[in-house]
C-alpha cells in the first residue's frame, strides 16, 4: 500500500552544460576536475541553482542573461536545463523531443554516468539501462560470454547469472548466434540480447534509449509485454521518436526542447505538444516541393481541401490544369508520405473503372479520398499523371500539397488502406462522375 507512494526516480532542477567545441570541452574538463579538488566550487554550483528560476522564462534575452550569470563558459550551452520530475512504480515516462534536445544526456545522468552541473537526482532501486545500441558488449566475445560480463556489470554473481541465463537466451531468441562473437550480430540482435539482460534482473528502474527502434515487430511486442510485466514495481523511462511505441507503453510524457522539459501526466497532451514542435520545425526546414508537367499541359496546380482534418476524415485532392489537347485514359497515382518522405498511403487503382479523360481547356479533377486513418501529424501529397501505353509522365507533383491530421485518437503507424470515395472531373461547367 505504502509502495504506491514511493518515488523511484526523483529529478530536481537538474542541469547539465555541454560544450560545442572539442578543444575547449577538453580544457573545461581539466578545469572541472581541478575545481572538484577545490571545496569553494561548491559555492558556485549552489549559486547556479538559486538563479535558475529566471531562466524559466521563454524570453531569449533573459535566458541568455541568466545563463551567463549561471557560469556558462564560451561555446557552452545547457544541454539539460532545470529539469524536474518524479516517477513512481507503474509509471512509464516517454522522453520525447527533437534530436539534440538533451534526452540522452538526461538519461546518462540518471544512470550515473555523468554528473549533473546543477540540481539533484535520486534513484531508488536497481537500474537496468540500455543506453544506445550494443550496451557495451565486447565484440570478440560470444553472446553467451557477454551475458556473464554484462550480468556482473549489473551486479549479479555467476550463480545468479547461471540461474537466469536460459531465460535471457530464450527471450533474446537469436538462435545459434548466442555462441557467435557479438561483432557478427546485427544491431537488432544486439538490442535483443541487451534488452534481455537489462530486464532479467527485474530492475526497479528501467532506462531505454531508442532501443526498440531497431527491433522487429515481434520483438517489440515481446518488449512491451515485458515492460508491462515489470511495470507494477518498476518505473520506466523510454526515449523514442515513434508515436506508436509511446502510445503503446507510456503513460506519462516528458517533452524536451533545447534542454528544457515539460511533464505531461496526460499522454495525449504530451504527444500533441511533440507533434506541434515537429511540424513547426519541419515547416522551417527547406523542403523542396516540385511540380512539373509537359505539353499538352499549359498549367497545373494541386490543392487539398481541407488542409486540416480529423483522424478518420476524408480529404479532397484538386488537380487544376489547362490542356491544349484531349487526352484519354490517363493513369492517376496519388500517394501521401510523412514529411521525412516515408510513404504511408498509396492509391494506384483503376479509380473504380472511371476513365480519367482530360479535355482541351481548363478543368478540375476532384478526388475524394478517405477515411484516412493516420497518426496525427503533417503529411505531404504526391501526384503523377501518366499516359497509358508508353508510360510517359505528363504531370508530376511532389509535396506541393499537404494536409494535417489533428488527433482525435493516436493510432499505430501501420499503414492502413484508404479508399476512393468520389472522383469527378469538371470541364467547362459539366461534371462527369461516378
Amino acid at each position: 500500500m505504502k509502495m504506491d507512494n514511493e518515488v523511484l526516480v526523483r529529478v530536481e532542477h537538474v542541469s547539465r552544460k555541454f560544450c560545442r567545441s572539442l578543444k575547449r570541452s577538453l580544457w573545461y574538463g581539466v578545469q572541472d576536475m581541478l575545481s572538484e579538488l577545490n571545496p569553494s566550487s561548491k559555492l558556485r554550483t549552489t549559486k547556479r541553482e538559486g538563479s535558475s528560476a529566471p531562466a524559466q522564462e521563454p524570453n531569449e534575452e533573459s535566458f541568455a542573461l541568466s545563463a551567463s550569470r549561471n557560469g556558462l563558459r564560451r561555446d557552452e550551452f545547457w544541454a539539460v536545463n532545470d529539469v524536474s520530475f518524479e516517477l513512481r512504480p507503474g509509471e512509464c515516462l516517454g522522453l520525447i523531443g527533437r534530436n539534440g534536445a538533451g534526452k540522452t544526456t538526461l538519461l546518462k545522468m540518471l544512470n550515473g554516468l555523468i554528473k549533473p552541473d546543477g540540481g539533484r537526482i535520486e534513484m531508488r532501486g536497481r537500474v537496468g539501462a540500455l543506453i544506445s545500441l550494443g550496451a557495451g558488449f565486447n565484440p570478440i566475445l560470444t553472446g553467451r560470454e557477454n551475458i556473464y560480463v554484462n550480468g556482473s556489470v549489473l551486479g549479479l554473481t555467476k550463480k545468479e547469472i547461471d540461474a537466469k541465463i536460459d531465460d535471457i537466451i530464450d527471450f533474446a531468441d537469436i538462435g545459434d548466434f548466442i555462441n557467435t562473437p557479438v561483432q557478427s550480430y546485427s544491431s537488432g540482435m544486439q538490442v535483443r540480447l541487451g534488452f534481455a539482460i537489462a530486464t532479467a534482473i527485474s530492475p526497479e528502474i528501467l532506462l531505454l534509449d531508442e532501443v526498440l527502434a531497431v527491433g522487429d515487430m515481434a520483438f517489440r511486442i515481446k518488449c512491451y509485454e515485458r515492460i508491462g510485466r515489470l511495470q507494477k514495481n518498476a518505473a520506466t523511462i523510454l526515449v523514442s521518436h515513434s508515436m506508436s511505441h509511446l502510445s503503446t507503453v507510456c503513460n506519462r510524457i516528458f517533452f524536451m526542447s533545447h534542454g528544457k522539459g515539460s511533464y505531461y501526466a496526460d499522454r495525449k497532451a504530451g504527444i500533441q505538444r511533440y507533434i506541434e514542435d515537429q511540424t513547426s520545425a519541419s515547416a522551417k526546414e527547406d523542403f523542396e516541393p516540385l511540380l512539373t508537367f509537359i505539353p499538352p499541359f499549359r498549367s497545373a496546380s494541386i490543392g487539398i481541401e481541407p488542409e486540416q482534418i480529423q483522424h478518420g476524415d476524408d480529404v479532397t485532392v484538386l488537380i487544376t490544369m489547362d490542356s491544349c489537347n484531349d487526352l484519354d485514359n490517363l493513369q492517376l497515382r496519388c500517394s501521401a508520405s510523412t514529411e521525412e518522405g516515408n510513404p504511408v498511403l498509396v492509391w494506384d487503382g483503376d479509380w473504380r473503372g472511371q476513365a480519367i479523360n482530360v479535355r482541351r481547356g481548363r478543368q478540375v479533377i476532384r478526388v475524394v479520398l478517405g477515411p484516412i486513418h493516420l497518426t496525427a501529424g503533417r503529411y505531404v501529397f504526391h501526384i503523377s499523371l501518366t499516359q497509358p501505353g508508353n508510360g510517359q509522365l505528363l504531370l508530376y507533383s511532389r509535396g506541393t500539397a499537404s494536409f494535417e491530421i489533428t488527433s482525435k485518437e493516436i493510432y499505430s503507424e501501420v499503414p492502413t488502406t484508404f479508399g476512393l470515395k468520389h472522383l469527378a472531373i469538371t470541364h467547362n461547367g459539366t461534371t462527369s462522375h461516378l
Binding site: L37, I114, L154
Partner: protein
C-alpha cells in the same frame, strides 16, 4: 518492498565527504572483483588472439632491449662493468623487471581506452577495469618469470635468503608504475599527448635508471640512481633475486611507502575524474 539501494547524484564535489568517498571506493572495489575477473579472463583470451607469435610478445620487447645491450657490451662498443653476475643475465633480469614497471605505468590509461564503449554506456564499479588491468600485469609478469627462470638456470644464478624480498619488490614496481599511471589518467584520457609521450619517456627513463648497468654512486649517474624513484625498486628486485647485498634497502622501503600513498591519491583522482572523462567520451 525490501530496502532498495538509493543513489543520489549531485554536482557537489565528492571530496566534500572524504570518509564517504573512501567507503565507496572500497565498496566498489569489492563489488567489482567478479567483473574484474571476467574482464581479465576476456582480455587474456583476446590478448594475443590475433597474433602468430602469441605469448612470445609478452617477452619480446624486454628481450630485444637487453640483447641490444648484450651485443653492444660484448663488442666493446659500450663497456659496462661492475656486475657481479654475467652481464647477459644481469641485463635480461633488469629489462624484464623494468617491463613490469612500464606495464604498470601504461595499464590505467590503456584500460580506460579499451573500456570506453562500456564506460560511456553502463554504470559499473569503475575499479573493476583497474583491477583487471592489475591482474593482467601480474599475469604477464608470471609469463616472463618463466624466461627469468631460464636465464637464471643458464647462467647459474642462485638466489639466497633475500629472495623473500623479491615478491614485495615486484609488487612495488607494479604499484609504483600504476600509481604514476593513475595520476596521469585525468589529463591523459582527455589529451592524447600523454599516451603518446609515455613510450618515449619510458625509453629515456630506462637509460636513466640502473636497468642495463649497475647503479653508480658518483657523478650524474650516481645522482640519478639516488633520486630516480625506480632505481631502488629495480636494484632491490634484482639484488634479491641474485643473492646480492641489498644496497638500496632504505630507499626501497621509502619509495614503496610513497608509491602506496600515491596509489591511493591516484585512485581518488581516478574516481573524481571519471564522470568528467565519460562526459567527453561520447558514444
Amino acid at each position: 518492498m525490501p530496502d532498495l539501494p538509493i543513489r543520489v547524484y549531485t554536482p557537489e564535489p565528492i571530496l566534500g565527504h572524504p570518509l564517504r568517498l573512501v567507503r565507496e571506493m572500497f565498496a566498489d572495489l569489492s563489488a567489482g572483483r567478479e567483473l574484474a575477473w571476467r574482464l581479465f579472463a576476456r582480455d587474456v583470451s583476446a590478448q594475443y588472439r590475433e597474433t602468430l607469435l602469441g605469448y612470445m610478445w609478452a617477452f619480446l620487447p624486454p628481450l630485444v632491449a637487453s640483447l641490444t645491450f648484450v651485443f653492444l657490451n660484448s663488442q666493446g662498443i659500450v663497456r659496462i662493468s661492475g656486475t657481479t653476475i654475467p652481464y647477459p643475465a644481469f641485463a635480461m633480469i633488469g629489462t624484464l623487471l623494468w617491463q613490469v614497471f612500464v606495464d604498470g605505468l601504461q595499464t590505467p590509461s590503456d584500460a580506460i581506452a579499451r573500456a570506453k564503449p562500456m564506460l560511456a554506456r553502463i554504470n559499473f564499479p569503475r575499479e573493476a577495469i583497474l583491477l583487471a588491468g592489475l591482474y593482467m600485469v601480474v599475469f604477464n609478469f608470471l609469463i616472463r618469470l618463466l624466461l627469468l627462470l631460464g636465464v637464471m638456470v643458464w647462467w647459474r644464478v642462485v638466489p639466497g635468503t633475500s629472495i623473500v624480498l623479491f615478491i614485495p619488490a615486484v609488487a612495488a614496481l607494479i604499484l609504483g608504475g600504476m600509481a604514476i599511471g593513475m595520476l596521469l589518467v585525468p589529463v591523459g584520457s582527455l589529451y592524447g599527448d600523454i599516451s603518446r609521450a609515455i613510450p618515449i619517456a619510458a625509453q629515456f627513463w630506462i637509460l636513466l635508471t640502473p636497468v642495463l648497468y649497475p647503479p653508480r654512486t658518483t657523478g650524474l649517474a650516481g645522482i640519478l640512481a639516488t633520486w630516480n624513484p625506480v632505481s631502488p625498486l629495480i636494484t632491490t628486485a634484482r639484488e634479491s633475486l641474485t643473492n646480492q647485498p641489498l644496497s638500496m634497502l632504505p630507499a626501497f622501503l621509502a619509495v614503496f611507502a610513497i608509491s602506496v600513498l600515491i596509489l591511493g591519491l591516484g585512485w581518488m583522482s581516478y574516481r573524481i575524474a571519471m564522470p568528467h572523462l565519460i562526459a567527453r567520451m561520447g558514444g
